[in-house]
Symmetry: C2
Subunit: 278 residues, 2 copies
Amino acid sequence: MQVGIVGLGIIGGSMAKSISARTAHAVRGFDLDNSVMEAALGCGAVEAPLTAEEIAACDLIFTALFPRATVEWAREHGELISPGATLIDLCGIKRAVHGELAAAAGRYGFTYIGGHPMAGREEGGFANAAADLFDGAFMILTPGEDAGGELLGELERFFAAIGFAGLTLTTPREHDRIIAYTSQLAHVVSSAYVKSPEALRRHGFSAGSFRDLTRVARLDPEMWSELMSGNADFLAAQVELLIGNLSEYLAALRGGDRARLQRLLKEGCEKKILAGGR
Amino acid sequence: MQVGIVGLGIIGGSMAKSISARTAHAVRGFDLDNSVMEAALGCGAVEAPLTAEEIAACDLIFTALFPRATVEWAREHGELISPGATLIDLCGIKRAVHGELAAAAGRYGFTYIGGHPMAGREEGGFANAAADLFDGAFMILTPGEDAGGELLGELERFFAAIGFAGLTLTTPREHDRIIAYTSQLAHVVSSAYVKSPEALRRHGFSAGSFRDLTRVARLDPEMWSELMSGNADFLAAQVELLIGNLSEYLAALRGGDRARLQRLLKEGCEKKILAGGR
């Protein structure tokens, strides 16, 4: 089939590279940045530019853009998408785009499914995109009622072919609620953690803990502020919950209450063993 | 030379394994747990038990015990240590043990240096100890005035031989202040982070960020509560600072202020690039 990819950053670029390297599907791609287009065409990740005519010929289209740019792209190009084709956006939040994209799908007769690949890298851009970025990752999809079992079966095989471990089917709301915790909160905490004055004195005094706790402080502020602002209700609730939990450790430390501190640490340890993900 | 190691958990056990595997020094060891003693003697990490007579024959002694047990051991066994020998404790906090151990050193004529290897593992115990645990790590030392340049040079070569990348020389106070941030705060944050109810729903919704932010929630509550309680002043200050920083992100989210959120994220990103440690 023909696959169109709009936006060739780390996510769209990795989709293009993995589909071209690992499947027989033809990839058409578009990026606003001419040098990225040249690089994508030059390395074979993209066979040809995704023009208006090529959009109409696509069976499957991915948008890998910021949320607002995704909605704008669908407004401007939705009518070009072939009835019967499938559009999957790859934004990190789903409620912010779902209404408009589902409406466009209804209007023009294509199927819309929200998507979010559970993979990424601190350094973005096409240069850091890789065919193996999605190896072992989950692909989250938020299919509507128009997405039948046959289509989902096809998509499961498609994503498996480019390395994904499996699909996670959910709703836009559940996606945003859980992602606020598993991903967005981690970025807020890393960003806040690294702001202690001790961070600049840590050389020779740190090992894996500091590295892990601050890894994702290195992020694209423009993209993440848009993703977090578009999910502010769920994210703020998680930040507040974490501050509340941290305050319990603080009270135990300030009160010299070692037994309470030990109980708090034990509860966290037990929770971590239940949650897994080491 | 003859090296004595008291306590054969993950740290003392790894010291025994790496010294025996990588140097010509003779290792004598002691652990309260008979099965650990058998395992250490059986695998050759320890040549013979560290008896009272063998303590007197040691040129270098490591204690790899909890802080209070370290002080107790020095009280009971300090007089056995040969004048001219060096005692290095490997506790994760240094102010809590420094006074008593330095006093014992003065009384019995040996040299005391506080130590803290920047390495560890979620799973402790001799079974998880490894000869390569310290490869590429820093060894923090807090030498007093009685530790001359010649001894420090010898120790530098000794620690390099068992894999360390280098020495960090500091004071007990500076050690505790920086470690409160680089290590203890990370354990508090991981432990608090994993307590959100969403942690149990994260399967299929998470990748590296969740894993990294919660990795060290898996810890020994008894040991860590003693280490944190013995460093409560510095650690509480860091927890408070982090709560203050998190509150700024929360205010930006609650106020719908994307520009402020973007600025906060940008500052964190810049700080991370300066601090390094990816």
